[in-house]
Symmetry: C2
Subunit: 280 residues, 2 copies
């Protein structure tokens, strides 16, 4: 079956990417301003943080999409879906890592993606306080600024303890679905791990600063840009678990350097099903 | 017994602190320059990285100490001890988080401390790419720039999953001594954890950006500044494990907001001895 994205022209994809970068610029400008000027913080019913900035950024990005592409749908973390039957969907998490934002830890950021028939066409992750941004378009490659990114495999003789894994915290292995056995197996197999929220986790995987990443039990807005960013850099992306929870589809994903993705996915799957993978 | 540090005058402590800040300034200048200009990378026999910059910074800091206080001893990660019988010792890790430095992840930094009769008198952690620095002097308080830092306890009703724990990776719970049971217990009890190398981990604990921290199985140069930075901010610091390994004393430490330090230390100790703490 042909990839539906190949029906899109290079010029169209270029225009979508242009808007995605404009959205990232607007989000960065707003977030840097509120870091200086201050913002209101509340706790959501699930205990997670939401701030006045999450809502303000999401409203602003929605407005920009609706002005430029009024027939396109929008899915965002904080507000209801817009035009759910459209073939085109913009997906954002205005502040991914709201707790980092509240605590002034500079690895929070904005996740932006556009999907055509449920397949990612463009993706951007912007980390405003680190002045860091990666972007990708289908068939156009993955870039950090002007620099094209390529995810080669590492030497197959590299021991697991020298592989750098970026992962979600144990919280993500516990909420929505209990994956404690997978947490144990993954950290035992790849003990040289760091832990970040989605956006910085995905940025490190796309740039190769982490060799591989696993991000657990997230709705679409958290994971929206990771696949296109990784695949357009020559990496692999694999959904290792998927289920419905409180009306949203929830995804657990492994991505990064291709050979390592296969190995980590096998470690995860064996632990999740109670077995031990042959190659661990 | 009187704290031997109370024999030191405020003026002397001020002078030590002044030198410690000058060392941090020199280290920052050198590290920012090599990030731009490039550096050589090698693997040590244990698989960890060392770069030409680690050695260059340590030599420069040693020279500055020897010029200013020729009778003081020096302990650094990369070179042999100097004047081990002195009552005064400067301790540094020129680049803590060398893997981050090599991968251009901006949370690496320099750890600097001065000890009098094995008790910390001044401590500085500098994170050059984040333009972040904390410093403390015995009796003088802990500061980030001009801002004095204070670690209050959090509301006792805060659930564990809302407590932010900063910790070392599983690697540190495995090398030198196997603390897998403690890794499991600590992450299960405080699942909202992040993972950093020592310097950024200790900075987050000293500033309260993390509520509590655990750093496992480190020699003195990794942990050198954490105690004085935490205690002078009103926090607590506890050594939960200590042993000798290849000629060095190795420490595992818990530090941060006082009530949480007692709770986390109890979780660690119970797991390390095979039991379950009453308050977990």
């Amino acid at each position: 079956m042909t990839d539906p994205r190949s029906q899109l022209s290079r010029a169209d994809i270029g225009q979508f990417q242009e808007l995605a970068l404009a959205l990232a610029g607007e989000s960065r400008r707003m977030l840097r301003a509120v870091v200086t000027d201050g913002f209101e913080v509340k706790r959501k019913p699930d205990g997670s943080y939401v701030t006045s900035a999450d809502l303000a950024v999401e409203r602003s990005l929605r407005r920009m999409v609706q002005e430029r592409f009024p027939a396109h749908g929008v899915i965002g973390e904080e507000l209801p879906r817009h035009l759910p039957d459209s073939d085109f969907h913009w997906v954002f998490d205005p502040i991914d890592g709201t707790e980092e934002f509240v605590r002034r830890i500079p690895t929070f950021g904005t996740i932006i993606a556009m999907f055509y028939r449920d397949l990612p066409v463009v993706g951007v992750i912007d980390v405003p306080l680190l002045d860091d941004r990666v972007h990708a378009g289908f068939g156009l490659g993955t870039f950090r600024g002007d620099k094209r990114l390529r995810l080669d495999d590492i030497d197959a003789s590299t021991p697991n303890r020298a592989v750098r894994l970026s992962m979600s915290s144990r919280m993500n292995f516990m909420h929505r679905r209990d994956h404690s056995a997978a947490f144990e197996a993954v950290t035992r197999t790849y003990p040289n791990h760091c832990v970040y929220r989605s956006c910085y986790n995905h940025l490190l995987a796309a740039t190769g600063q982490a060799d591989i990443a696993i991000d657990m039990s997230n709705p679409i807005w958290d994971i929206a840009a990771a696949r296109i960013l990784t695949e357009e850099a020559g990496g692999a992306f694999s959904v290792v678990d998927e289920f419905r929870y409180e009306g949203e589809r929830i995804y657990s994903c492994v991505f990064g350097r291709p050979a390592l993705v296969a190995q980590l996915a096998a470690v995860f799957t064996a632990a999740a099903s109670g077995g031990v993978p042959a190659n661990a």
